[in-house]
Amino acid sequence: MNRSAAQQATHVLRRELALERAGREALVAVGPFVLASVLLLGLGANARTDLLRPLSPTLVWLLVLSAALPLARGVRAVEEDEDCWDTLRCVVTPGALLAGKVAALWLQLAAAWAFAAVLAAAALGARWSAGGVVAGAVGTFGVAVDVTLFGLLIGSSRRRVGLLGVLVLPAALPALLAGTQAASPGVRALPWLALLLVFDLVATALAWALLPVLLEE
């Protein structure tokens, strides 16, 4: 029954997507939050799109980072609550488990980013450049890695849940900064996209290095 780590990671991803399709937990946690936030901001600013348009990239990234926090529970805490974590750890290699969980979160966060970006375009008059869209795809990967790491951390120690917001948001600061800049009119996107790539690589290396410690009981 030997399979490559890539195949195992793919099956972890498919499992995560199937469970989301069955339970719609991420959709319910993120969709209404993003929708309400964009609409309320538009109403709160009295539909002044001239004011809101330049802020839209920052708003979208802040929404994605905020939406990422509840998704962190799905990495490990929900699996533990439902007595599935041990089974996963026995059957799947740690690397494949990490990769599958990151890939699933990436898809969810990228979808949240796209949803928020479309809403911002419709309600706030935001205009998205190609650089801004690429930044959405690249930046959400690094955020997904960060959130997966923190999801592993809060699963292993419930006492640190309060630290999550404090730790995740600064760790995702490069995504917020570079993602916003890459989407801003008149700004060259390429250097900021390069920063996002470095952010992704550093987050991935960190996750890989910390994984054995986070999985240890």
Binding site: R14, D86, R89
Partner: protein, 201 residues
């Protein structure tokens, strides 16, 4: 017979508390060993070390193949379907796609879960979830099966099925370690370990 699991002088401390005193355990392929003892005696600690989930404080663990740890009711997500949870685990375990369906159907029939195949896991009773946990292990056929009180929520028929599943696993070459409070569950087990406050009695 080839050793599937070899624990040498393994012990485990949680802080200053000794949960499991150093012990040796060697399980051959196809053998069954029961672990008995009162609550807090160290049964779960031993099984989790055997499964590779818990690192021993001292000693070494050598395993020849995948170990799977299961306790009654564990292993399937609440929103998943019964048949889907078995199939997904088989995919994760690396069973070829062509065999997944057949193997899943076989174990669901074996554990009398076929009529519940399309139900969501959170619609099952505790006893049915207990049988599903056994079905998951039976489907995967790991090299080492660590069953932690597998009959905890089962009725008389479920206990009979559990004993049969242990026999089935041993017959296909799995080494089976079963923690139980029921000394009559597996009267023909190859080995019996009794723990008292972390020590082998």
């Amino acid at each position: 017979m080839t050793a599937a699991l070899d624990l040498e002088a393994v012990s485990r401390r949680f802080g200053t508390r000794l949960a499991l005193a150093p012990l040796n355990l060697r399980l051959s392929r196809g053998s069954v060993c029961t672990v008995e003892g009162a609550n807090g005696a160290g049964k779960t600690t031993l099984l989790r070390i055997a499964a590779g989930l818990l690192a021993p404080s001292t000693g070494t663990r050598a395993a020849d193949g995948m170990a799977l740890y299961a306790r009654s009711g564990s292993g399937a997500r609440a929103v998943d379907r019964v048949d889907g949870s078995v199939a997904r685990l088989l995919h994760l375990a690396g069973l070829p796609r062509s065999e997944v369906r057949r193997r899943a159907d076989d174990v669901l029939c074996r554990l009398a879960l076929q009529p519940l195949a399309e139900r969501r896991v959170d619609e099952l009773s505790a006893g049915e979830r207990g049988r599903l946990s056994l079905a998951l292990v039976a489907a995967v056929r790991p090299a080492i099966a660590c069953l932690d009180e597998p009959t905890a929520s089962l009725d008389v028929e479920g206990r009979r099925l559990a004993a049969e599943v242990v026999g089935d696993l041993a017959a296909v070459g799995c080494a089976v370690l079963v923690a139980t409070h029921d000394p009559d569950l597996l009267p023909d087990a190859d080995g019996r370990l009794v723990l008292t406050a972390g020590l082998v009695a």
